[in-house]
């Protein structure tokens, strides 16, 4: 088991290396002047065009943009590892700092969407499998199908129109105006950057309620697609397990049906869900970009859209690196969890 973890951990940097290589291949298509602009600090307002060109020449020389490809790649990589990710004009701050500041918001959204989605998927999926072919199964299958096939951004639009424009229950943005001012002020202590958690830690229930109210729609929109996918997998996998011989044996032995389901069936059915976990993160991130933009939720996804609309290359590259790292790490965790649960999966 430990061996497996170590081996997977060793492959991790190799994969990240490939990821950065692919990214740099694309990045390299840009002319040196533009790549130099990535590292351009904020210039004083009176800088003339010539002075700016000089500074860019300087950067080109310093970072070696006119050297052979591999050398440039290595330099770029070294800069990344040193924390030098460039400056993002559309965010008004260095790339890495911008990413880290927006990350808690997206984390909050992701958790608010994924945890209920997983819990519901496990229960409803197994319910459907146990009532195979009967009414609850058909209902679950239809709802899960629609949830998966229905485009999430359109769901978001409809929800905004109905629950916000018409009813005013769940507004967009992360917080109301008064709350925004409050959290930026002196009396509020920031712990995690997630407003719901911080509000609780500050003992402020009014703020907590406000943060939750703003979180509901985006989290729900994200959760629907997740739930749909996980439910289908859970149902399908539990159905497969229930058809296995050892389940029949357990029943023949006289084991109570409840124990059969909980002890034997569920454990084996969970496996496909864990292994899909890695792919789910990737879809979640893509979903977050769209959902945050629709609901004006100031997280990583929203920042990414701002960046691309301004064609802010350092920001876009930084965002891609960041989310790729997150995806790779979560696949790693999913694989290790798989190997933990099922010894047969320890193939590497």
């Amino acid at each position: 088991m430990i061996q497996y973890i170590v081996r997977r951990l060793l492959i991790l940097p190799f994969i990240m290396l490939l990821v950065t290589f692919i990214l740099y291949l694309l990045l390299h298509q840009l002319p040196p002047e533009q790549r130099a602009e990535i590292y351009l600090p904020t210039l004083k307002p009176n800088t003339t065009l010539e002075e700016r060109a000089e500074i860019i020449e300087d950067i080109i020389e310093r970072y070696g943009f006119d050297e052979p490809f591999l050398l440039q790649y290595i330099t770029w990589l070294r800069n990344l590892l040193a924390g030098e990710w460039g400056y993002a004009p559309s965010w008004g701050q260095p790339v890495l700092r911008g990413l880290l500041r927006r990350a808690p918001a997206s984390a909050e959204l992701a958790l608010a969407a994924t945890i209920p989605a997983i819990a519901l998927a496990l229960t409803i999926g197994s319910l459907a499998a146990r009532r195979y072919g009967r009414f609850p199964d058909h209902v679950v299958r239809t709802v899960a199908f629609v949830g998966w096939a229905f485009p999430s951004f359109i769901l978001g639009l409809i929800l905004i129109n109905v629950l916000y424009a018409w009813r005013g229950w769940f507004p967009p943005n992360r917080l109301s105006m008064w709350a925004e001012h409050f959290v930026a002020g002196e009396s509020f202590r920031v712990y995690t950057g997630m407003y719901t958690v911080d509000a609780l830690l500050n003992g402020d229930l009014k703020l907590f309620a406000d943060a939750v109210r703003h979180l509901v729609l985006p989290a729900f929109t994200l959760a629907v697609a997740q739930w749909a996918l996980l439910t289908r997998i859970m149902r399908s996998s539990l159905l497969d397990v229930l058809g296995e011989d050892y389940i029949t044996t357990a029943r023949a032995k006289g084991v109570r049906e409840q124990t059969v389901i909980n002890l034997h069936a569920r454990r084996n059915a969970i496996l496909p869900l864990i292994s899909t976990g890695g792919v789910t993160v990737s879809l979640l991130i893509s979903g977050i970009v769209v959902v945050e933009t629709i609901f004006n939720f100031a997280g990583l996804g929203y920042a990414a859209t701002e960046a691309i609309l301004a064609v802010d290359i350092p920001a876009v590259v930084g965002f891609t690196l960041f989310v790729s790292l997150v995806t790779v790490l979560s696949s790693l965790v999913a694989d290790i969890a798989c190997a933990f649960v099922d010894p047969r999966a320890r193939t590497y």
Binding site: L18, W148, A149, F153, G243, V290, V311
Partner: protein
Amino acid sequence: MSSFRTVRIMLSSAVKRITLNPELLSGILIVLVFAGFAVAAPLIAPPEGEDPYMLPKDGWDNVPHPPSPEHPLGTMPDQYDMLYGLVWGTRVAFRVGVIITLGRALIGVLVGVVSGYYGGMLDALMMRATDAFLSFPIVAAVLVMLSVSVDVWELRLGEGDRAIILALILFGWMQYARLVRGNVLVERAKEYVRAAVSIGAGDGRIIFQHIIPNATRGLFVLFASDVGAMVVTVAALTFIGLSGGEPTADWGAMLQTSRDWIIGAPTEAFKYWYTYISPSVAIVSFSIGWSLIGDGLRESLDPRRRKILRRRRSRR
């Protein structure tokens, strides 16, 4: 048995499989309806200019107008006709969906076959590369391609369509590759391949005549689901603004044009419902149609499901 009879038998069993499968049947019907609109586009909404995909403008009013006899589905901001956009958008949807999916499938089959057939170091490397590509969330990949293409290939953000399609192809072949590689590994071990090798058939012949026809079985399920998913993805990306300029006949672009009007007026939340209802219905049903086909195909090709059906039946 004559080959004509074989074909007839295959066709009738295919027809039976389709008609007895409600999901598959409804999916195909939905897609056929869209196909019908796509083909009949010039008749339903005659183009007004050189490029049929440019929406016709009927005035300069910034405010959308509700459905009327001249504009049966209403107009978008700046008076673009919605019916026109919807109908020609069908063609765009098919084009986008099929091109992206075909591109993905081609690259995927290439990688999967080479990786699975030759094995060894090449296989290991290709699989690691696949893992690396899988680590890019698709939206991030699209963003990177867009930002690079705006400057390098001189695509204005308005022609981002091509960059988005390219990005979705280049970063979306991995599922196909994995599927094909798995199938190739299975086929490669089979008797008939060994027989072919023993009579001296070269690699190329074995791959093209034997492996590929048999290893691409499960591909259609992926293909069908993907077409719908790709149209939705492109629509979503176009909606959040990754495509500027004059609106073209594309459902996502239509939604993007009407974006500010969706929440309606301060007191009447649904005042401009028509600006987003029809493109939404189009996108949703297109996605559902293809998903039904994908799901239906999967159910009908899965041998294990029948086993459970039989057991259930015998219990009663």
